[in-house]
Symmetry: none
Subunit: 114 residues, 2 copies
DNA sequence: AATATTTGCTTGCAATATCAAGCAGTGATT
DNA sequence: AATCACTGCTTGATATTGCAAGCAAATATT
């Protein structure tokens, strides 16, 4: 299992944001963000995770879980049926590690030219 | 709203438990429990709150909220399942060529292992 | 080429979570 | 009454979060 830091770094880079851009949007220092992404922080506070979840477009619960906090049981796991034409449908269920690789690869092909 | 410590103390006393009984059940020191209940702790960790929620029979979310942590709302939870939370959102708008590359790459990494 | 800006990072430092150990009061047992 | 166990509490110590300030390498601008 990978470090959750790699995951949130992948999220940021997938959006082509710098640490200081995220800092301005979240009021979390770039110094601390750097530590987060390099795995030097065990469990960032829920508030910090909430801010990150908002700008990266992932669910708060997901980040809480990745960091190792207890999560509230979601009894219904409804699959997104809306959007059978979306890429999400074609990709299907993917693991966390696969998602990191995909996001990294997307960043790569988008920065490839120029 | 006042001190959440008063609330946590009320929960314990409603069950006629001592600090040391709770300590044995939760592995949270009686010293710290005392500080919690007397309002000397700002934000106990989610894990601590989870343990307390289990033995006091209240929801984890409720304690999280009382302490001031962000909570996931029901509405957002439902909506997010097929919206912000899906990989489609994280990827964002994507061209046909990019999608083909992504899907090929996904196939590649899935065949790569083993 | 020289200078300025950007970017990720390291390093103390302050604030806080949590515990181990001990202390005083209260109630039970001898 | 003396002792014992139990109760809540305080205090000092340790670990961790998060920040301000600075730094070196990369990139942009003149």
């Amino acid at each position: 299992m990978q470090n959750y830091g790699d995951y949130i770094r992948a999220l940021r880079e997938a959006k082509n944001m710098t640490l200081r851009e995220v800092e301005k949007l979240t009021d979390v220092s770039n110094a601390y963000l750097s530590q987060l992404e390099s795995g030097k922080v065990k469990q960032p506070s829920p508030l910090t995770l909430h801010k990150l979840s908002e700008i990266y477009g992932v669910s708060y619960d997901l980040l809480m879980e990745k960091v190792g906090y207890p999560v509230t049981e979601r009894k219904e796991k409804l699959k997104s049926e809306s959007g059978k034409t979306s890429i999400a449908y074609r990709i299907g269920d993917i693991s966390d590690d696969e998602e990191i690789e995909l996001l990294n690869y997307l960043k790569f092909i988008r920065n490839r030219k120029k």
